[in-house]
């Protein structure tokens, strides 16, 4: 890649401020560091990854509202976690966390357990019980 070919495809994902370092060759063929504001393929891939996350969050929200899953499942998606990571954060086995995703089981959780979930998601217990 030549120095003057270093792409500067900025988009709102970078918030216009964030520039990363690329290595490119100058006219004499020597490698130099060049700042890049972004590149189209990377932007597409990152946007796509976020679309996937947002869709999962939206789908989970609908299911919570219709009473099919508990807020634990919704906040897990919202915090980009998977079952293994969430179980790790709350100090439970994956099958236990999975159970807590059932509304009936969730309703019976102790205050202590609810607080652990709230801490893992960095929200208040109230927000955990009532998703917005």
């Amino acid at each position: 890649m030549k120095k003057d070919e270093v792409p500067q495809d900025s988009d709102n994902l970078h918030e216009g401020t964030f520039k990363q370092i690329m290595y490119a060759v100058d006219n004499t063929g020597n490698y130099v560091q060049v700042q890049s504001a972004g590149w189209e393929p990377e932007n597409i891939a990152l946007t796509q990854a976020w679309e996937e996350v947002n869709e999962k969050v939206a789908a989970a929200k609908v299911l919570v509202q219709s009473g099919e899953i508990s807020p634990v499942a919704y906040y897990m998606e919202k915090n980009l976690m998977d079952l293994a990571l969430l179980a790790n954060y709350v100090g439970k086995f994956q099958w236990q966390v999975k159970r807590h995703m059932k509304p009936a089981v969730f309703r019976g959780l102790s205050d202590k357990m609810l607080q652990r979930y709230a801490d893992a998601f960095k929200i208040s217990k109230d927000d955990l019980l009532h998703i917005k």
Binding site: M1, L13, I21, M22, Y23, Y31, P41, E42, M81
Partner: protein, 332 residues
Amino acid sequence: MNSHQFHHTQTAHCESGVISNLLGHHGLKISEPMAFGIGAGIFFGHLPFVKVNGVPGTTYRIWPGAIFQRVCKRLGVKMETAKFSSPEKGMAALDQVIANGTPVGLLSSVYYLPYFPPSYRFHFNAHNLVVYGKREDQYLVSDPVMDTVTEIDPESLAQARFAKGFPAPKGKMYYPVHVPGKASFEKPIKEGIAQSCHYMLKIPLPMFGVKGIRFLANRVKDYPQKVGERKSALYLGNVIRMQEEIGTGGAGFRFVYAAFLQESAVLLNKPELSRLATELTQAGDLWRNFAFAAGRVCKSRSADNVSYKELSEMLMQCAATEETFFKKLARI
């Protein structure tokens, strides 16, 4: 607390950048590409069974921490490293070391670093940064992928250092206790090159090195039939991100490594290394072409077999170019 002096240089990659900045602070000048090359950072691996958020993993670099260990060993740098059982202990230990004016390298999760744009904050637990002081309860941070130095509040830093998941950073911190004033790079360079060639050419498993690139190529070809349109695009998108997202310097570290070879050509007085750098630059350009085409395929959302077959052929070409390149490099 004493003067908070730390010379921050923005680099492409966090691990080699922290090495370069930390050792530079202790008087051993080493560029990012040199650190990356001596640490034999260049690699390729595709692991379909190691899934992150349901997407197969791909890597263009050696596993986290390896570059660090190798550079320290090869240059005779002694590091003090520590992990902690609780955030309280970890933060207290950090305070103690920076109070002496010693900058400290920290392992952290990107997800909890508020100074990154939100769009980059995924649960990636192997990010390296340097804390070099404290001012009014805020930690002074030199994050190598950032433009300038920044600050972070204690709570976020503790969360980032003690994030859960794989690999759990467990508050890992490190700082040099002995740095040789002058080090000859000659032998470390040769060892680094030999190791990279070995990893790229000789691992007897299909997922790694040049074989790994062909392995990925074969799988990409079948994505549309096997996993459908949506997942194909997500799988492909992840390959692009591993190759081009923050930290690779472009083309999945191929350009950084070429810069290392160029620098080594001068140090070792071996002009053939410079010629090989040019060859690797061409391989890097092939990777960039692949990423560009792959990005277009993701965007068009047309999972026709033709486009995935073409991408697969582009990867095969990358593999062939790198195989030739590393075989030549191994003979030097």
